[in-house]
Symmetry: D2
Subunit: 379 residues, 4 copies
């Protein structure tokens, strides 16, 4: 692991997700850009001190020297956005597989560079767009694929949070401070942090590609440079329409990511805060609630379920599903086998798409919320 030392938040989540299924052991790390903090964090985590490194460069170098079978199988990168790409490149080029937190990069250019490195090295690269790890999200995708909804017409996806309604970034709250600082977060705060999750979820379930975006950004809290609220209209290729919004100032909302997809034959609805249910509606039939863990679900949804129906699974289990699938691919890679074709985790391609989405939204917003084509930025 790189990052995730004392005071960090997402590192702990990654570690729980890794541990859950007993297939991944944390054995080495550079847990902080501060060598002393890295050392102490390693002690907290009961890691062999010889494998707690002062920085990621040293980690690459020293792990490479370990015999095959003793060195790490992959690295998990949980640093702030700014350093995802340099760290990932160092490990990929050092011959290691990578699991990386999102968003992929600091900007689109970096993302495209990284994509080239992934392609060149042939290593596994997994991006933890964790919401697609929920079994009922996978069921939603299966229903769309099977044509249960008919042709898709409209998508409404929203991710309101309220935690940044007060200027806690100004007051030094660490999670808030880096997310709202353009030097660390990049050109966008709200869209980069959570808007991309909404975009990724919509793309995962529907397979639709965005053609154009009209994005209205606002910085509601005084002194904030980056947007803390973003509302967008979307036009998908092929004619479907969309509404996407993300917010950090919607007081009282927690992580209320939700999606509704409307087709010619039916529609579906899923809420991240109530993740074990998937509601499907029809023009002239009773609504159906699909529930995690039941035998009637698709094989895909069942494959990502650990415990029986009625005993809810939640966020960590979904996160762990990303690791499980990445681990399957990594195991194959290490054994010199082809990656199983049904491996289901977000890749560098998803990361590039996400960065392109951010860049397009930012450009639209800067122009005064004008329609902006995704294509303008490509290549």
């Amino acid at each position: 692991m790189v990052g995730g030392g004392r005071d960090a938040f997402i590192g702990g989540v990654h570690r729980m997700a890794m541990r859950l299924d007993g297939k991944i052991d944390l054995v080495a790390g550079a847990f902080s850009s501060n060598p002393e903090k890295s050392k102490l964090s390693g002690e907290d985590l009961l890691i062999d001190p010889n494998r707690v490194y002062p920085d990621y460069q040293t980690m690459v170098e020293r792990e490479q020297k370990l015999p095959l079978g003793e060195r790490i199988d992959f690295v998990s990168i949980v640093t702030p956005n700014r350093t995802h790409v340099p760290v990932a490149k160092a490990f990929l080029e050092g011959g290691f597989n990578v699991v990386c937190d999102k968003p992929l990069a600091f900007n689109l250019q970096e993302a495209l560079d990284l994509q080239r490195v992934v392609e060149k090295t042939g290593k596994v690269f997994a991006l933890t767009h964790n919401y697609t790890g929920y079994p009922m999200v996978k069921e939603a995708r299966e229903l769309v694929r099977k044509g249960e909804l008919g042709n898709l017409l409209k998508v409404v996806v929203e991710y309101p949070q309220g935690w940044l309604i007060n200027p806690i970034d100004e007051e030094g709250q660490k999670q808030a401070a880096w997310r709202t600082n353009p030097e660390q977060a990049g050109a966008s705060s709200c869209v980069g942090d959570i808007g991309t999750h909404a975009e990724n979820l919509a793309r995962y379930i529907t397979g639709l590609e965005i053609d154009q975006i009209c994005a209205d950004f606002t910085s509601f809290v005084k002194g904030r440079v980056l947007e803390d609220d973003a509302n967008m209209l979307i036009r998908f290729k092929g004619g479907a329409k969309g509404v996407l919004y993300a917010s950090q100032i919607s007081v009282g909302e927690e992580n209320n990511l939700a999606i509704r997809v409307y087709g010619t034959k039916g529609s579906l609805e899923w809420h991240q805060e109530d993740p074990n249910d998937l509601i499907v509606k029809y023009a002239d039939a009773p609504r159906r609630t699909y529930r995690r863990g039941n035998a009637y679900l698709s094989e895909t949804a069942k494959r990502f379920t650990r415990i029986p129906f009625g005993h809810p699974e939640a966020f960590l289990e979904a996160f762990a599903n990303i690791y499980l699938e990445a681990a399957r691919a990594i195991e194959a890679e290490i054994n010199g086998q082809p990656i199983p074709s049904d491996c289901d985790f977000p890749t560098v391609k998803d990361g590039v798409e996400g960065m392109l989405f951010i860049a397009t939204a930012v450009r639209s917003a800067k122009g005064g919320a004008v329609w902006t084509s995704m294509a303008n930025y490509q290549k």
Copy 2:
């Protein structure tokens, strides 16, 4: 009543709403533009045949000749949009108070004309934007007024329906046919029919005025000239932002009108299909669910409640609340007294605002979903 004969839909709703509280009797009508149908409808409704008229002009003329105390106290207009204004003008100028279905007019110009007539005659004019009759909508407004939410930052209001996913208008379904026909519905179908309800609800609760609209219209069903889906970004005067969408092709949705209002201190959420609950959320306190009929509610919410908590009230009761308040004003007008200042019903001003909203949205959509100012149209 004018309109509301056999085969009509909304006339029956108005009649139930009128009857509920025992303060309004239906005693006369021109129930159809077809005199024979008007006559038969009058028989169905057990109206004195002498007061069933072949057309609205005759109705005005003949009712005027009846002695005070015997003539109608007001007329209820439930015809298609196209004829609201001429009928309303005839009655207003004939000395009668008016309750009229929404939208107010066929276009903005007509609406402004009517507003002048209302002002000139001094008669009561009530518009049945019925959703504002729900007690918990009134409670929502009171909470906003009392500052419970702080300064308002964002409004999300949506009205998805799915009933027009199939071309039932082409197949002759009467309700569908006139709503999608520009000659009868005007320049907009979906926004005119239900988008205005969303706009009116948002304005009623928040008091915010729209500054600019960016509206993306789509006609998803082949052969349809007017939009059956509309997604909008909103900028309110004073800096608040909004998302508003309405749809007639969101399969499986019924009348899923819902609103969320976010302020600096708290937010609220209300769903028309679950109208007895109002949810209020805070940054750092448990969510509260306010429920209709309780003693802790505002006097306003309590005034519009008929039965105790836990025995739900619904759509017809809300509709009846519009009539109750209009009737209070009408009673005052007839008795030569001032209209009570707490009378709470939508007026011609709300209707003009609604028409302005429609016109602005249509203009934005026709320009390719560009930001369009409400002011452009005013006066």
Copy 3:
């Protein structure tokens, strides 16, 4: 109408329910046992003073003398429990049809007497067990009848309220005072007032007949003679089991009547406070939510619906459904025609069953919550 004067509660509900569909006019009444109050109440209701009577005996006598076609078609009895039977008998024997509030009688003996009078006179007698007027309750019964649930195994029905947690009966609140006074309410408070609704609802939907009851009554509030909480185990004829409870001291509950019915193939769930939805669950298929107003519902459910899906109907509409069906039967009776076989309203038989249920539960409770057979009381 007999009863329902100033200060009364349920009379107003009956009047709204009567008025809603425009088929019933209130034209006469003895609105209070206090003649002066009856007179004033009649004025409030704009009733012809000649038909506002000082007591119910006078009302029977004088209405009988009016010519056919001018006299009342039926009487609506909304007095406290104690007087239901004498009033009803007077009207039945006077040649009038009757609609009566529940519970039917002060005790089982009275109920059986009244049943004989109804049978002898051949008049229509309707009891306002209003919850069976909800369209989705009717749909539930249809699903059971069609075998959608298989053989019924278990019923859980509950009616918790909290309004009597404080001794408002001692403090003179009128509704509370008579309901908890054995001289006016009979041998039971909670079970007589709301437990019977639970029993009636279960019987209506399932058709199951109770064989034995084990009832544990409690008077939680100091000074109260009758029970304000009752928990029961039920054994139905044929082997199904049940849990039934009613409470007036379950703080924070409003009118949370709810029922779950379990069969060998499926189960259903309905909540009075959310009456437009009916949930059906299966062993191995997604749950279904049936919603009022849809074309896929049974003809019966659709017959009792006034407005389209998504515009909720509620308590008053359900109450009005009882009146609508009683009115159909009364119209037939007056016209000398047979009562239509599909008339669907609670009759004197339901009332007798309810009184038998109350008597059996009281006997069980008095014995210390011992198993007591319904049959012990019959005849």
Copy 4:
């Protein structure tokens, strides 16, 4: 670990719960009563083959011989009910701490024996009544303790499942077969398996002690000897009343454990399938929804939360909370320190209470559902 080999279900759940927080390593086991299966299961789990034992007796013996610091710190017992006590006694008497699945024992006598062994050895004994590990269950207990509900009057607790509606036990489904077999499950199936969870949950939250039970058991599925459905009335010491039911034949229910607690000042409601919310209701104030992860919760609820609000936690996290607390106690025991007084996990005392509850319910049911005192069995 003892038990939990290939084909077992609950063993896997325990392992995920143990792993989640990175404080517990599975290092040894006797995974099956079949030595070969134990060996293969150990391989699956990547356990050092030297510490995979053919039976639990060997495991005790051999682990005892390992130096302190190398031997296991505690054993986790996940065998069928029949063998909980002999295995637990062997480890306790061998000097090991124990975590054991519920119910504690095969019968009450065994449970009391085990309690004596626990007391004598002074070792830590934790019972995995996992539902009390949910943070919002802990919040519920805190609210009761702080007097937020006033004096408690009534408890309704239910645990309906539907998975045994078909005779899958007859057809050899392993989980079903042993749970319904009196030789393996003991005197009760449904109550022993899930009724005890309901009882434990109620006791944990309320602190109320059961005085008397009236239990009606049914075996609905042909050929089943033990009950698959149980409905009970409860009388608590001090006068509160209760309804408790459990069912394995309630088709379409999954693990719908739910509790409502009513006091003089307020009431609370919690549903295991929606575990992040706790609803509190008042006589005259809006309902409150307490949500996991918020700063306004009690320190206790916050202590058992891993990730922020709005990212749901669920069953495995609650299960892991039991292990976390047991581990704290075990760590203290091993270090010769007193068990921290705030350690919050179910103990052998809870297990004895549970067995007493089962025995009392069985006795009541065998007597024909007669009121039976818990005291009859004590000592």
